[in-house]
Symmetry: C2
Subunit: 502 residues, 2 copies
Amino acid sequence: MSGAALRLRPLGIDTQKEFVVYMRRDCHICRAEGFEAQTRVEVALRKRRIVATVNVIDSELLAPGEASLSASGWPALEAAPGDAVTVSHAPTLDSLSAVRSKIHGHRLDAGALNDIVGDIAKGRYSDLHIAAFLSACAGGRMDLRETIDLTRAMVGAGDRIDWGGWPIADKHCVGGLPGNRTTPIVVAIAASAGLIMPKTSSRAITSAAGTADMMETLTSVDLALPAMRRVVEREGGCFVWGGALTLSPADDVMIRVERPLGLDSDAQLVASVLSKKIAAGATHAVIDIPVGPNAKVRSDKAARSLQSLFEQVAAAHGLQLRVVRTEGVQPVGRGIGPALEAHDVLSVLKRTQDAPSDLRTRSLALAGELLEFCGHSLPGAGAAEALRKLDSGAAWSKFQAICAAQGGLREPDVAPLREPVLADRAGYVSGMDNRRLARVAKLAGAPGAAAAGLELHVRLGDRVEKGTPLFTLHAEAPGELAYAKAYLLSHPVMLLAEQEAP
Amino acid sequence: MSGAALRLRPLGIDTQKEFVVYMRRDCHICRAEGFEAQTRVEVALRKRRIVATVNVIDSELLAPGEASLSASGWPALEAAPGDAVTVSHAPTLDSLSAVRSKIHGHRLDAGALNDIVGDIAKGRYSDLHIAAFLSACAGGRMDLRETIDLTRAMVGAGDRIDWGGWPIADKHCVGGLPGNRTTPIVVAIAASAGLIMPKTSSRAITSAAGTADMMETLTSVDLALPAMRRVVEREGGCFVWGGALTLSPADDVMIRVERPLGLDSDAQLVASVLSKKIAAGATHAVIDIPVGPNAKVRSDKAARSLQSLFEQVAAAHGLQLRVVRTEGVQPVGRGIGPALEAHDVLSVLKRTQDAPSDLRTRSLALAGELLEFCGHSLPGAGAAEALRKLDSGAAWSKFQAICAAQGGLREPDVAPLREPVLADRAGYVSGMDNRRLARVAKLAGAPGAAAAGLELHVRLGDRVEKGTPLFTLHAEAPGELAYAKAYLLSHPVMLLAEQEAP
């Protein structure tokens, strides 16, 4: 079909990743494509093209001959207001027949997985198609070979960094405990010991802060690859937001769809994590699997099975991998929110009196494992070496040097509005709802308001009296503080028991 | 969480069924819910509430304190511009755990299917959730019991009409041949013979015309239940658009998602068709299954298996059902498009010389089956009785009477622009691409422009010379005529062979 040329007018609508094209109901292409859910068209501008879902405009938002794009469509097409795009029907998605074949219970070979993942990375699948693919692969329906091929396809769909050295260290924590910000400390220890650890991190998707959000309160994290390379060459480590790089781009798309479905598939998780690590050029990776009733992995059995899949897929890709299982029952450190978590990280690195010991202990364990594993320390000697690097101030110096190389270290903000939340009776802290705690921090403004969130004053098992502060809300705006408080009225986040736990 | 009150401003954006709420990025609820794909919130107005996906506005489309809804959200909330809606986080979708369980390979019991279908009917599932459910059920993963329970759940999620009589006749054609408009003729014959046949039909989703679109060129089809009841009580039959009634509402939602996925599941098809029939109060239904390389069902084996499932599920619900397999190789009649198909129907009913014989024959076969089956004619005598009703003019009188009761019979429009498409060489018509023919009709403006579409002048096997008109394009606007012609330049819709088929 010959496409229709339409002039772009900005409307400022963000559909959160999925491409949408807005067209008047009376334009030809709209009439021709019909009006079913998820009508897909190809939008082309110069040499770029995206596949977008049609939303129909029945008002004067658009004049005849005009169209618009959702927020993510503009950079994808490198479009500016007034550009004339061509709209035509979407190319046939041949890879969908492989998805249907998987739905019908057949195995997917490497070629089919390449096609599917390639189409996803290019934005050709709607969320609805991705949901179908993820559902067909979940529930243990991906075997080891498919998981290995999926991982390879995900690496192949994006860029892959070559650091020209060996070993290249990396770490990842599976399944979020709020405040579990070991990454900056592990990088500082590892780099101070001479390891190369070019760390890329993500921003929060559903949590109150991602490592990139947290590090952004201290330094610039939005580095392109050449700048990242310069920092790593000089200091051995970095703290970079991975979103600006094109490492396993299909992963970002799939994660956004997987989450609202609540699908927890080991195959998808392993392919997601390892494809990012391999694309980032890692040769050695430590994987932190918190296990606990509040964590993503809830039993030792589940952890063993996940660990085994991690090890086999990593081995197939020549990636050295170690799994460390940690306790996952309550938030780590005191802060939940970018700046508050940064304070915790700084206090561990600076070895202040009140540094949260759980964050310190976890970071040392992971760094020790990495040091041994990468051949820096002898077996059994990694923990002591990590402790030396931290206690000598070498890690803190390295952290400052990396931040300086990234554009300078700054002090994280402190929220202007703070309000303690008190125990309404005496008792022992017997439970914390990690998910609700994260939600309270988000209602208070995190991660958009970097200083917002909450600061915990108690740990599980602590004895409190009536009126003891349980935590303090931090907010930048009165409305957000009020919003967080309103939520707390109907949603308790901590349990107080009358008796101490046995 | 206490909701935020936002004042509604119309934007005129139609997302094709799925509810979307537009909110400024700086409003609290937006910040609190985060920005992942398919963030879902509950929007409430007075006693009504919908679950909607959030799209974020970064422009002056909305002022602070304002929100907007996609087109379908306004009637669902009975909202008017300026109404203040409350937005809060979406209620937990407990039924999603049943979807996940199905993804993991477990059976769904009646209760779980009720919960899922109920949530879908209430608009609580996003397209993405529905895609996951459909994928989990496709590929032969629904057993007979589940298909029966799914059908019951779909009936239960909407209204069910009780006609207070027996038998109540109905018919349905599976899988669209363009122009296969037997329904109005069958209803006219059946009602003229004294059967009760309260027919509800759909509008086009991807085709160039639905039966409701076609009948709307002749009379009013948008009748509410009380008006429909009056027509049926007086005339024994009716031609009503089902969309205004709430019969198996989850079906409409699922069909819209199923289509872009290209999922063809017998279980879903049977539950879809039968839930509509049962909800409409039918006790006897004839199902037309066209079989052919261009039809939905492509082999006799597939037809047998589908027939068996239809029969078993119908039996479980106490619905009498007969399947008629018909040939499905080329369009039926001459017209493709609402008014053009109406002309074909009228010419069969009026017994004009040029009435398309295939449409007449098919209609007689289905009507004859229905007459026998409902106990009106003795076995083997139905076809002759149907023929008598048609040839005596009784069916035509009944058709006119029903249309009069629905508000009057009018002449369908004739398109002002008509242009023949000629054979570019001599040969035998050896193939027709039904899908492309439908697309040409849509490009010419159907079904929105009711008189648009195309009129076939040849049938498979016909001998044509160079310059023989193959079909005539009908359009209401020059742009649409040009658009259809441009498509034809690169997309042949008929094959011409040098030799006659053996």
